[in-house]
Every structure is written in structure tokens, then in C-alpha cells.
Amino acid sequence: MNYDIIVVGAGHAGCEAALASAKMGKNTLLVTSNINNVATLPCNPSIGGSAKGIIVREIDALGGTMGRIADKTALQMKMLNSSKGPAVRSLRAQVDKVTYPKEMLKTLKNQENLTLLEGMVEDLIVENNTVLGIILEDNTKITSKKVILTTGTYLKADILVGSERTRSGPSGEKPSMHLSDKLASYGFEILRLKTGTPQRIDKNSIDFSKTQVEPGDKVCYNFNTEEHTEYDTTAQVPCHLIYTTPETHKIILDNLNKSAMYGGRDDITGVGPRYCPSIEDKIVRFKDKERHQLFIEPESIYYDDMYLQGFSTSMPRDVQEKMVHSLPGLENAKINKYAYAIEYDAIYPTQITRSLESKVIKNLYTAGQINGTSGYEEAAGQGIIAGINASLSLENKEPLILKRNEAYIGVLIDDLVTKGTIEPYRMLTSRAEYRLILRHDNADIRLTDYGYKVGLIKEDRYNKFKTKKENIKELLNLLKEIKLTPTISNNELLTKLNSANIKDSISLYDLLKRTEITINTLLENTLLEDSYDDEVYEQAEITIKYAGYINKINKEAEKMLKYEEKQIPQDIDYNKIPNLASEARQKLLKVNPTTIGQALRISGVNPSDISILMIYLRKKYNE
């Protein structure tokens, strides 16, 4: 059987990749070690969050699936940073860990052109540095034109609890024993990473009266960028907040030598992410802090596990018992699952290009944790891009490369392949220099066109989108046309709204530039007739209110784009360029950037090296 595309691994990256390529008409095979375990959430029970929520919106705008299923299976929705500016608002859903994977499996099974297969991939068929298919554990060979690896944490995975080390994937799943060695033998540089997950506590053993309730939002939000859906906000399941106690800190400090990470063990080589340190790490590094925040989050309405966010640890089980029981409300808590750390292999992401095709083996794409990232959303964002680009390549089309000013996904991939990473990479708003234009609210405006162009978005949805865009334009024009005249009654209204009086006529457009005036004010006071959707009003309002800042960012982005347009031929030999600093030469050789803009972002490559490079290119390729 010869497939167009084989996707290895059915986590969040694999599912998006397989769905994208199948939807693009490619005969796709999705191989997973356990078919009943696709798209699981082995760590936190939520989708989205700061910056990550915007990635989910972007996936949806491109025609992906994660957001739809998160909407469907949400136990609670919360718009983070709603008290801050629109640029940093981000949606998070607490999702049901039982229904989310179920819904995904259903989606996969219903997808045309997509075949699911249970099996453990242990090798690739490689000839002349080109991948021709996969080899399963039982030596079955399956051929394809493209292979996408989304192996998550399964490459040589080790579970660490206290001093115990067990070769195992998450939740006792079987790890892939040989694939990473094979990848190394094909020339990949392998990276060892580590991540951890906290305890799961039996809901019935928690005294919730000692916790602070954290409910969901009272306004409805969706990841779906196509249409807004209302739901019953009162039916949401709450989270709970508690704090560590002095007793907790004492137990941890007394037992520090038993912690896998602090016990002086030298067999742990994996680099853990700084943004999710273990509780012992937090207590050692931030001695002055009297207490640390912990969230108790629901995992599912179908079983009783509660996720203890903030309490990840590599302590042995007996110490974990003591630690958990020192927490308010958890004095008699039953631990259903102990906290553990997991070590796994990944590849240095500078070995892949911005299309996510590897530089080492042709027709091989990688996405998700194998590329050094962390998080469901980061994985899914890469997955859809890998699926799209493998398919586009089969159609002999240019790959879809999202720019840093177009999407968080663009920032994510550019960072990975340009700067590389040595710890699991998590998306943060601080990584996006153009975050002002990479918003939750405009994800569809930014990316729907791409989704349509590659074929993931169908005509009817695209027409709806075009109508929305036209409505925004129409509304903006209307706001410019409607003038408020300086009548006594109008000025009285302005006074009532705490806004300065006017002497000359002013358009509603200019009026909206005032902080105190919103579209809602205009609608409530019948200055504007209500004839558009909320999303249209929202876009118009943000466009007007932030015009100054947005223009500034756009100008900066333009500067960057000029450098992005300057292509570097991929056959360039950096060894032949005289005067390059040797560090720059090494980095350029390693990353082999496709544009001058990308070269500029490589750490260790200085502007002087770029000048030399540009002069070399001009001489060599123009003369």
C-alpha cells in the first residue's frame, strides 16, 4: 500500500497534520501505538491560555480542528487578561479529558482519505537521504511519498518518580525504543528534554470549603473563528485555588535529597522547562516566598481525578503523600496518580526548515514535541502546518510559511528553526514582537485567506468570511460619514458620558478615538443604528482605537519584511564567504537561513556579518 502521507503519532500535532493532509485530498495514514488513546491530554486539563489560546484560534482560522473540539468539550471557559488590552486577551478552556479524545477520534474516523492504524513505528525507510515510508515494530513496511513525525514524548521515554526510573510513555503507554537512535544514525542531532506533571487527587477526598472557587466567565467565548455560539455559562465546572503552607515547605526542604532532581542523581540529563518548575524548585529558588498558589482543576465529569496545578514534583511517593496532606482542604486527600517527570528525545529544531521539512532527510516533516516544544497548542499549530506543507509539496506548490507579523504559529516556527531551543519551548506573548496585531479577535482576518488558498476552508465558509470583512469596511466608512453636530443636546450627551464637548462637527469615527467612547455607547444612545454582528463592531472599534499603535507596529513589520524578501540561495557555501566571523559562519552553516531576515535573528550573527553576507550575495548572484 502506498500512501501520499504517513503521520506517525496521533497526539495533537499528529491529528491536525493528518486531518489537514486528508482534507487536502491526500491519501493519508495515521499510525498510533494505541488507537483508543488519540489526542489525549496527559498533563493539564486545559486547551488555550495566554498566547496559546491565540494559537488555537489561528489553527481554527486555517481550517484546523483543535478549537472546535475544545469548544465542544469545554467544562469551563475563561478569557484571560480581559482587564488588559485586546492584544493580550487569550481564551482558555478547561476541557473534559474523556470527551476531548473521543471527539477527536470520531473526527478522524469520519474524515475521508484518512486511514487509522495501530502500530509502533521503530524505523523509517530511507534511501539517498529521502524517506520512502515507515517500518513497524513487527518489521511491516509501509511506503509513502511523505512522512510526518509527531512522536511527542514517546522517543525513549523514561518516567521518573523519586529515585525510580522506568522506560515508559505517559500513563503507562509503550514508548518507541529505537526510532530516535535510527534518527541519529540518519544524521539527526538528538536532544534530551524533560517535563513533569503534578498529582491527580480524588475529588471526593477534597474539602472544597477550604478552597477559593474560580468560576468560568459569564460571557460566552469560542475558539471557533467562523461563528459565535452561545452556551449555558451557569453550567460551567469551577476550578479551585489553594496555597501551600509552611508545613508543605518544611516537608519539601527536609526531603530535598530524595527529589530526583535535587538528590544529586547524575543520570538525569533532560533539560526541563523553566516556566514549569517543580514545587521543590520553586521553594529552593524563591526562599522568601511564604506560599505558592495551586489550582485544583477538574479533569472530567466522567471520573474523579482533579489536577493539582503548580505542584509538579520528582519526590518519591511517600513524600508526595505528606506534601499533599499538608495542603488546605487536602488533609485527607487520596492521590489517584502521583506526580512524575518524563524524559524523552527530541531533535534540535535548527535541523528543520520553516516549512517543517527536515534538512537531514528529504520528504520527512516533524511537528510538536519532537521539535522541542511543549504544550498541546504549540504541537497542534505545527501539526497543521506540517500537514499543509507536506500536501502542498505533493502539489508542487510553495510551502505555507507564516510570518512573524501574521501569526503566533509563525513566531513559534521561526523561533524554533532559527534560534533552536535547549529547553521545551513554550509560547509566551513576550516572544511575539508584533503581538499588537496577533490578537485573539483578528485570527480569522489574518489567516482565513491562507486556509482557503490551501484548500482547508470551503467556499461557503469563505464567503461568510468575505461578507464579514466587507461589513467591517462598510461600518468603518459609515462611522466616517455619520457626523455628530455641536448641538446643545449632543453636548449634553457628551457631558453625561464624561467626554469633552465639541465645537465643530465630529465624525463618529473620530469620536471613537476617545477612550471613554465605545461602539456600545454609540448604539445605546442611538447615535448608530444596530445592524452588524458583535464581531464586526469589535473589529471596527479596535481598528479605530488602536490605529496609532497598529500603524507603528505595521511599519516595524514592514522593515522586517524587506529583509524577509531577500532570499538566500540554499546552495550557498558559507565557507566561501571571506571575512565572516567564525561564530557567525558556524551558526549560518547550521541554520542555513532562507532569508536575510531569518539570518538576522540568529543569535551570534551580527549586523556586520549580515553586511558581508549581503555584499557577497550581490556580487555572486547579480553579476
Partner: protein
Amino acid sequence: MEDTIAAISTALGVGAISVIRISGDKSLEIINKIFDKDLSNAKSHTIHYGHIIDNSEIIDEVLVSVMLSPKTFTKENIIEINCHGGINTTNKVLELVLSNGARLAEPGEFTKRAFLNGRIDLTQADGIMNLIEAKTDISRKMSINQLNGEASNNIKKIRKKLVDIVSNIEVNIDYPEYEDIEVVTSEKIYPLVLNIKEELEKIIKKSEDGKIINEGIKIGIIGRPNVGKSSLLNTLLEEEKAIVTDIEGTTRDIVEGKIIINGFVCNIIDTAGIRETDNIVEKIGVNKSYDIITSSDLIIMILNNNERITEEELELLSMIKKKNHIIVINKIDLENKLNLYVEDAIKISIKDNTGIEDIKTRISEIFNLDKITTDDMSYLSNARSISLLKQALYKIKESLANIENNTWVDIIELDLKECWNILGEIIGETYTDELIDEIFSRFCLGK
């Protein structure tokens, strides 16, 4: 034949030694005029100890390197004078070199010659020129050298304050539910940002003083024809016995000369007059005045006591409002017809030689010349650093305005971050990764 060019090749302001490089055919001829040894027969690539002499007065004790064509950087004869006497002495030696036949080199001109004479290829030349133009290591290092010590430390301190605010805001954004991290609000950061603004203003002030020490004060004289501009210039110059140069190509349009006030060099430039006319030539004169106004540190505008004020003069007055300026009313020996009261105007009569000293005193007051001490070398700085400092200040002012306008804190933060980046550029540190490191090292986050 090419001019012989000269410039101070080392960073001004620091270090015990400054090197003046002279390149061109006349290099040997010039050094022989001002050095107390005859180097006419000196061998190439030799160093000679001696003194720089001006009319038999010893200016500095120096080492002179002789490098003869063609084995030099520019392939021309090169003389390098290693001065030991600090900034003012070095400046004086350079002036001597210039007054004995060399022309001041333009930025990058030595490199340009090296290229033109085939010493380096275009790649290298271009590379080096780009280095100079772009925000490069070299220019970065230059400014680091120029701005070391206290100034650099102060900038680091300001950056620390900024990163405290910025990383706290970013953590608030990325970890919105961590209540035990202080939530930064506009009200909370207002005094902090205000303090940063004041600190920056202080550094800029001191750096500008440093610029005065380095480069002198550029003073433009403007006013209508026959109001007494040239006379004032000549009077000032005569007293100081400075040299008047007619700049080629602009003959009689602009005349400039140097005087010393309280030990500081003032470059005075006289512009063409402003007259009510449509004549193109005169228009150019107005444009030049405008150029002078924008490029000068101080404007002296002369009005005629014996004439009514004109539209053009009023326009010029409004143009210089925001700059350092002195309004001088000349011809007070004649009848008062000037129908304009200017507070602080200095009344003079060049004819009677009255009031001239007042102008000098005022210049000294405006720049606090008597208070600038040359031993505070830490603030010596180049124009690039000052312009970056001003950009940083601008960002801070923007963020203050945003705070006052109740803008979202995440938008205010963008200007603060930009300010932090610009300051980093001055001291040669700009990595956004640095910020992320800061966030993780300072805050306690995670699952």
C-alpha cells in the same frame, strides 16, 4: 591630486593616548611644520619621539609614526601622532595639523581611500562602511568606549528599572492568574516611569556637556541682511584672534570661525540674510538659515533697533522658539524704530563696541560652561549615543502620555520595552531572550 586628510582616530574622551592620523602627499610636509624634529628622511614604519610645537610653544609631548606609501592602510603616506595630553590638547594638535594644510577627514574617508587605492576590495570596504552605518559591533563598541564608566552604569541602572517593570507586566500577561505576583497598573508605574524620565534627562544633559567638550558648541547667527551679522562675527573673532574661513562653493553665504569661551570651543556660523523676496537665490539663503537653525546648538538672532520688525523676522523668531537662542538687538546707537519687545534681549552696538561681552556671558550661562568640569569624562559621548538617549527619552515620554490617557498597561509596556532596547543598543546589549530569562529568574511560575 587628493587632499591630505586628518582626523582623531581614537575614541574621544577616554584613554591616556589619542591618535591623530594624517594621510596624503602632504603628510610629511605638515608634520615637519609642527614637530620639533625633521622627519623628511625618516624611514618607513618608524616611530619618533618629540614635541608638537606651535610658534615655539610646546603643545604636547608625542610619538610620531611614519608610514610611507605604498605599504599603508590607504596606500598613501600616513603619519600618526600619539598625543598624551588629553582632549583639549589633542584638539589643539588637530587644529594645528588642519591649519598647516590638511583637511578634516569625513567619516569613513580613510577606508574609502584604502578602497580607491586598491588596498582593500569592495567587499571589505562596503562591509566596513556598512559597519559604520549600521548598528554594528564596531559602532557599538565605539559608543561603549565613549560611554564607559559612570554613564554606562547609570544606563544599566535605568535598564534594570525598566526590566523590572517590563518583565513584571509580561508576567502579568503570560500568567494572569498568579495572584501572588504583583499586578502592575498604570498608577503604580507612573512614578517609576517619571523617575526614569528624569534620570534619562540628567544623562542626556551630562552627555551633551560631554559633546560640548568634544565637539564644541555650534552657534548660528541669523538675521536680515545688514543687521550686523558679519560685523558681530568679526568682532567676536577679532577679539579671540581666531581664523575666518570661507567655505568653498558657498562663498559669502556662510562664513564661520572659532572662538573660545571659558575654555570651550564655539564654532560660529554666519548665514545669508533673510529678505522679503521671491528671488530664488535669496530663498536658498532662507533655507540655509533653516538648516543652520536645525543643526546648531544655539542660535543668535540679530534684530535692527533702527527698523520695524518684518514678517520674515517674526517667522524666524517662531522657528527658534524651541531652541537655545539669544536675541540680540543691534544698532542701539541709532533711533529706536523696532516695534517689538523681547524679554532677555541683549542690546548692543557693534559700532560702539558695547554689549559684546554680554553675549559671551549669556552663551556661558546657557551651557553652564563654568560648571562643566573636564574631569567628569565618564559622560563624554558621541552624537549617536546622544541621539539614542533622546529616542529612549521620547519613548518614555510616550509611555507617560499613555499612562495619563489611561491606555492599557500592555500597550504602555511596548514603549518601555522599546526604551529598554534602545538603551541596550547604547551599551551593546540587545537580546529579547534576555528579557525572557529575566522573567523566569525573577518570578515563580509554573504548573
